[in-house]
Amino acid sequence: AEWRLSTSYQSDSEAHEGSLRFAELVKEKSDGRIEIQVFPANQLGDWTEVYEQVTSGAVQMTMGAVPSTFDARLAIDSFPYAVADYEEAAKAYAPGGYMYDIVSSIVADQGVQVLSTWALGMGGGAFTKELPEPTNPDAQQGLKVRVWPGGVTHRALMEDFGFTVTMIPWDEVYTALQTGVADGVIGGNPELTVTHFMDITKMYVQYNDHFENHYIMINKELFDGLSEEDKSAVQEAAVEVMNERFPVAEASDEAYMQQLRDAGVKVVTFDEDTMQAFASAARQDVWPKIKDEIGEELYARLKAELGM
């Protein structure tokens, strides 16, 4: 069989390498019965569109984030400070982790099977101006920061962290930063900052505000209809790619932050206490304001998992 796998990744990114590696492993493990063609760089549409295609089977597979277009509760996937470091991320997002379970069961209702995950990196903010007090969650920073359309949860978060928040579509972000319509962007990670904003970034703050986790997903009907051999070939390949990636994701964040430093960007990372201060500000002050985004049930689950 020949399948299409669509991603938003640039052709020279680590994530694109990962998708090619997955395709290669599937071919190998299925003895050539399944060939996957990778379409990078949104060639088959952006993440929401491609996800929609996977639900209908027009595109068989995707590697990417889960959009909340069909179920608002999926906002939990990028819920601010649901996890605050790689250790917590490993627990929540690995198969069997609560976040993995929640997301898999929601998308299963939409006809999509999650096979495994791809760890993109920890989130942070890139700014074209220096923050007066980057390590103080209670300071007024006096800057305008951009959130993505639909980033309701991060809007509340950044307002709490002392910013004015403005929604700007992705296509206009760079120009907006350059001209000063916005002074910074939240929702990225070190790699995204290097590849897209390095030349205009003055300061990068590693907030760990969310864990940028992508899922390797397949049309459920297609997956369920596979022979046992093919099923396990696809499943094993996905898990192998995930296991190869997760241990190096943190180092990859580090390497990209070093690239930023080398380019003259001030990189701010938090010590443990500061990180705790940011995380508890988010969890105590912001969460009650945004809990409706994910619903009472998931909110209770989230708090229980964190022992709150």
Binding site: R4, Q10, S11, D12, Q37, F39, P40, A41, N42, Q43, L44, G45, D46, T48, E49, E52, Q53, S56, G57, A58, V59, I168, P169, W170, D171, E172, Y174, T175, A176, Q178, T179, G180, V181, T195, H196, D199, I200
Partner: protein, 435 residues
């Protein structure tokens, strides 16, 4: 390339030639590929068309078309053109140069070439025809010049390129400026050649003192118009507004000037302006809608990929490959709009570009000039068709002048841009200090 794809391309050409409306030629070609291929449901194609057409970046276009409609209803644009005309108009064929220069100025307001066609076409084509220019030539000149709006910042095409290739958009904005200036020069030169035998009515000759006085008077009358690009560029580059917002500001500004200050747009005219602009936008966007569907199927059938493979199997010589890439882009530009062409070609060609050690900012200019040209190269030439619609003329009369401008202005500039990297890299280096 599969036999279905080849048949499909022939089908597309055939339908275009017998005169099926272009959007439905695309729709038919998409339908054919869909029916002969292995696809699950048509929803993904509708979604593709819908998502592309509902992009916020495109929203600037209807707004700038509204600006054009308002500007051409009132006297604002005419005053602007009058001023430029008072400078160049006394030369034989000078009104053609006015088109080129004013379109370039307009390009500094607008990120899309179609809005330049809309604004300039409505104003300039009737005026050129009045002075004895051939209508087809007038529309062709407007369409060809409108590509300047894509090359002069702000440019939505460069934003898309920078985004896909991970290149600084500021640098990409600057890269095609010098090629654009070269194009303006060549257009003006060819304009004088091509209008030589037209029965052009020249304004009566006057003395130098009178001419300067005239420029002063026209300049004053045009002040409120001349301020407009300034307002827009300040809003965008001063960090006050996004291009879409700046476009809305332009609409409101043009309305205030036309309805309240000059009082030359009666209120009842607003009704006509609204539905007429809406129709112009709609006709273009339905075309985009179906073009996106067809482009998506071509991508899924690996059409562009097979072309690249073919390229690399032919030669490994840098110059030969650069020429081949240009030929490939020209072909792509013929069958696609610049947006779809960019989305398809950039990710595919970047590996080749890196292998050849070509600067991505340099490539921004190459791809910009090339796919910009594709917009006026038949059979798929949205700007040319749009120019025909705005200029109220048929395509046939536009073909010859367009072909001359493509062959003897665009192609030379394309070659210069391709083989002299400094042409596109000089400005970004100077302003941004890129390597």
């Amino acid at each position: 390339m599969s036999i279905e794809v080849i048949v499909d391309i022939l089908l597309l050409m055939g339908l275009l030639i017998i005169g099926v409306p272009v959007p439905f030629c695309f729709a038919a070609a998409a339908l054919f590929l869909f029916l002969t291929g292995d696809y699950v449901g048509s929803n993904f194609l509708v979604a593709a068309g819908f998502n592309k057409t509902s992009s916020i970046i495109l929203l600037a276009m209807p707004l700038f078309i509204l600006v054009g409609e308002i500007m051409s209803t009132g006297s604002l644009a005419a005053r602007l053109v009058d001023f430029c005309d008072s400078i160049f108009g006394r030369l034989k064929g000078g009104l053609g140069v006015v088109v080129i220069v004013v379109t370039a100025v307009f390009g500094a307001i607008s990120g899309t070439a179609s809005s330049a066609v809309a604004a300039m076409g409505t104003i300039m084509v009737p005026r050129l025809v009045e002075r004895g220019y051939d209508r087809g030539y007038a529309a062709a000149l407007v369409a060809a010049s409108s590509v300047l709006a894509l090359l002069i910042p702000p440019s939505s095409a460069q934003i898309v390129y920078g985004w896909i290739s991970g290149t600084s958009i500021a640098a990409c904005f600057l890269a095609p400026i010098v090629p654009a200036l070269l194009l303006m020069g060549l257009f003006s030169a060819w304009n004088f050649v091509m209008t030589r035998n037209m029965p052009i009515v020249q304004p009566e000759a006057v003395g130098a003192r009178q001419a300067i006085k005239d420029i002063g008077v026209k300049g004053r009358r045009a002040t409120l118009g001349l301020v407009m690009p300034f307002i827009i560029l300040t809003s965008i580059y001063g960090g006050l507004a996004t291009p879409t917002e700046a476009a809305a500001i332009a609409v409101v500004y043009a309305l205030i000037v036309g309805v309240i200050i000059f009082r030359d747009i009666p209120l009842r005219e607003l009704w006509r302006i609204g539905y007429s602009a809406g129709t112009t936008v709609g006709v273009v966007m339905v075309l985009v809608f179906f073009a996106v569907m067809l482009s998506r199927l071509y991508t899924m059938e690996n059409v562009p990929q097979s072309v690249v493979n073919l390229l690399l199997s032919i030669s490994e010589n840098r110059i030969v490959l650069l020429l081949l890439i240009n030929v490939f882009l020209i072909v792509l530009g013929m069958i696609m709009d610049d947006f779809s062409g960019l989305l398809l070609a950039t990710p595919m060609l970047l590996p080749v570009i890196r292998e050849l050690d070509i600067h991505p900012v340099h490539f921004a200019a190459i791809i910009g000039v090339n796919l910009g040209m594709g917009n006026i190269t038949p059979p798929t030439a949205p700007l040319l068709y749009f120019g025909a619609r705005i200029g109220k003329t048929r395509l046939q009369g536009m073909l010859k002048p367009t072909l001359i401008l493509v062959l003897f202005a665009y192609l030379p500039v394309l070659l210069l841009t391709t083989f002299i990297p400094d042409l596109s890299l000089w400005l970004p280096r100077l302003v941004l200090g890129i390597n």
